[in-house]
Symmetry: none
Subunit: 205 residues, 4 copies
Amino acid sequence: MTENAPRPAAPARRPGGRTARTRAQVHDAVVAQLMEHGYDELTVDAVAARAGVHRTTVYRRWRDVGGLLADVLDAAGDDTWGPRDTGSLEGDLAALNDEVQAALTAEPPITLALIAASFRSDEAAQALKRFWGKRYTLCEEVVDRAVRRGELPAGTDARALLVAATAPMYHQLVFLRAVPDPGLPGQAARTAALAAAAGAFTAAR
Amino acid sequence: MTENAPRPAAPARRPGGRTARTRAQVHDAVVAQLMEHGYDELTVDAVAARAGVHRTTVYRRWRDVGGLLADVLDAAGDDTWGPRDTGSLEGDLAALNDEVQAALTAEPPITLALIAASFRSDEAAQALKRFWGKRYTLCEEVVDRAVRRGELPAGTDARALLVAATAPMYHQLVFLRAVPDPGLPGQAARTAALAAAAGAFTAAR
Amino acid sequence: MTENAPRPAAPARRPGGRTARTRAQVHDAVVAQLMEHGYDELTVDAVAARAGVHRTTVYRRWRDVGGLLADVLDAAGDDTWGPRDTGSLEGDLAALNDEVQAALTAEPPITLALIAASFRSDEAAQALKRFWGKRYTLCEEVVDRAVRRGELPAGTDARALLVAATAPMYHQLVFLRAVPDPGLPGQAARTAALAAAAGAFTAAR
Amino acid sequence: MTENAPRPAAPARRPGGRTARTRAQVHDAVVAQLMEHGYDELTVDAVAARAGVHRTTVYRRWRDVGGLLADVLDAAGDDTWGPRDTGSLEGDLAALNDEVQAALTAEPPITLALIAASFRSDEAAQALKRFWGKRYTLCEEVVDRAVRRGELPAGTDARALLVAATAPMYHQLVFLRAVPDPGLPGQAARTAALAAAAGAFTAAR
DNA sequence: AGGTAACCGAGACGGTACGTCACGTCTTCAC
DNA sequence: GTGAAGACGTGACGTACCGTCTCGGTTACCT
C-alpha cells in the first residue's frame, strides 16, 4: 500500500513518452491527494490540477474517481511484499497483525481512505478485492510453513485461519473505531494459532 | 437495525405536535430512501421531498446527511433486541453470527448502506459506534451465561471473545466481498468458543 | 432593438428584490456581450461572468442562450417605437427603410447578431418572430394613413405591401452581404409605392 | 446542391488517387449529415466518421466546418441550372419564385441549413455569396428576354428587379418564419413585373 | 525501379463550453 | 416577526467538440 518511493530521479521526463508520463503524474497525484485530504476531497478536478494535467484527460483515461483508485490499487499490488518468517505460526501471525495495525493507524490514514473509497465506487471495490486476494494468497505461505514445521495438521484451511487471525484487527480499528490496543495484534494471533492447533480449521468445513 | 415495524395506524397524525410529526416523517423518509436507493442517493433534497417537508427544515434540524443517519441509528438502538439463549456458548455465538450474516446479506442491503455511510460522515460514524457499543454490551450476557454454566473460566474478556467470533463475518462479507458461506457463522462460532475454552481470552491482556 | 438607455441611476440596487436585480444584470450583460463580441461568443459562461452572477443561476432561469436572447428580444419589443409620418406613402416607406438600413449596418452589428442567433435557437427564433410581428403591425399605420389620404385603394394588404417594401433591404444586406447602397431604401420604397398604387396589393390575393 | 449521383462505378479507386477519393467521400458525408441532422450537428467529428476518414485528415484539408461547407457550396454552383422560359416576364419570375419556395420548404431543409451555416462561418458566408451571385447572374437572362420581347424598357436594372421579385419569398419564409403561402410566389412576381413595367428599375439608380 | 515527399490513420492531449446535480446560505414575502 | 418557499453562490460532475500534436505507415509521383 506504500507507494511514493522517491522516484528514481527524473521527475520531469519519464521514459515511455507523454502518455506514460501523464499516467505516472496522475498516479502520484492521486496518492498525494489521498494522503493529504482523504477520500472526500479526492475529486477528479483536484487530481487533475495536482497532476498538472487537464480534467478531460483524466476523464478520458480513468473515467471517474473509482477508476483512479483502481489503477492505484492495482499498482500497489504489484510490489514484492511477502510475509516475514519468525519461526513460529503465532509469531508470523503476530508480525502480520503488527503490519496491519501499523497500516491502519498510520498518519495520514491512506489505508483507511482506500477502504472508505471502496464503499463508493464499485471499480475501487473490485480493485481492493483483488489487492486483498493477492495478499491473502501470499500469506498462505505462513500456514504452509507451520504445516511443514508440524505445528499444524495438514489440510488446514489457510484462508480461514488467516481471516480469523486478522479480522479482529480490522473490526476493532475500522468498524468499531476503537483506539488502537498494542496488545491486540498479539492476542488475535495467539487466539487463532491456538484454535488452529486444536484443529478448528481442518476438515470440518 | 430493523426499523419499519408496522406503524400503529395513524400515519398522518402522531402525538407530539408538528415538530414530532415532522421528525417521524423525516425518519421514515430516510429509511425508505436508504432501502430503495442506497446511500448514494440519500440526499437531503430527496429526503425532504419524500417526507413532504421543506429542504430548509431538514437543514435546520439535522444539518446534513450525517445528522439524518445519526438520528436514525440512535433510534434503531432503542429497540429491545437481545441475544438468544441456545444453551451453549457455541450455539449462542452461532445464533449471533447467523443474525449478522442475515443482516449483511439482506436485500435491500440497508446494513451495508449504513456501514458505507459511516465512512462518509463523522456524525454517522459516531452513531454507528454507539449502536455497536450497545449491541456488544448486550451480547456480553452470552459470555456471562457461559461462565455461569462453567463453560468458560471467570475473568474471560467478553468483548474480545465476541469480536473474535463475529469479526470474520464482517471481514468476509464487507471487506473481502466474498460470497456468503452458509458454514461460516458456525465455523467462526466454533473457533471462538474453542479458543475461549482454552483460555485465550483470560487474564493475559 | 435599442436597449442601453443609461439606466436611471441606481445600478447597484433596483427595486423588486434580488431576483429582479439579477435579471436586469443578466439582461445588460447579454446585450453588452452581443455588442462587443457578437453571437459566437455569447456563451452562458461569458454572460454569467459579465453579469456577476453564477453560471448555474443563468441555467436555472434561462435554460440556455436561446432563452437569454428571447428574454432580451421580448424586452426590446416593449418600447414605444412607431413609424414616422412624412406625409406620403413613399416617404413613410423610405423612412422605414432608412431605419432598417441603419440598424443593419450599425456598428457593432447587434441586429445582425440577433438575426444570426435566431438560426441557432428555436426560442430566439420565436422571440424574433414575435418582435417582428409587433413591428409590422405597428407599421400598418403607415398604410392606413395612405388609404385615408386617398393614395391607396381601401382593401390594400398592408402586410404584403410592407414586406415588399422592406424585404429587399434585408435581402441585400443580410443574405447577399452586399455593400450598403444609399439609394436602396428610397428605391425599394418607390417600387413598392408604385406597385401599391397600381393595385398590386389589393383584392387579388 | 445535388448530391449522390450514382458515382461512375469504381468505388474503390477514382482517378486522381486517394486524395480525390477522400475529398469525394467527405463531400458526400457533409451533404448527408446536413440533410439528416441539420447544421447544428454538422461537426467535424461526425463528418469524418461518416466519410470513413480520420478526423485529422479533415482538419488538415478543410480546417473547419466552414471550409467543408464552402467546398460543398462551390461544388453546388458548378451545375447547369438556368431559369425556365415561360414566355412572359411575370411567368418567368413566378417560376423562379416557385423554385425558391420549393427549396425553402423542402424537407429536409437543406437550403435553410446552408443559410443558417452562413451566419456562423465567414468562409461559408463567402461561398454562399458566390453561389447566389452566380444564380442571380444567370437569372439576368430573364430580364434580357423581357427587354427583347418589349415587355421592359432597355436599361432596366436586372439585379434590382430580380431582388425585388424574390426578396419577399426569403423574407416571409426565412426571416418571418411565416407558413408558406401558395399565392406568394405569384403575387411577388406580379408586383415586381408591374413595378418594372412602370419603369421602377430604370435609369434612376 | 526506387526514393522521396505528401498524405493519411491513429490516438492522446489541452482547452472551452455545455448542462446537471447537490449542497448549504440568504433573501423575500406572506401570514 | 418569523418561518416557509425559493433564489442564489459554489463546486463538482461527466460530456461533446474543438483544434493541435506526434507518431508511424502508405501512397503517389518523379526522377
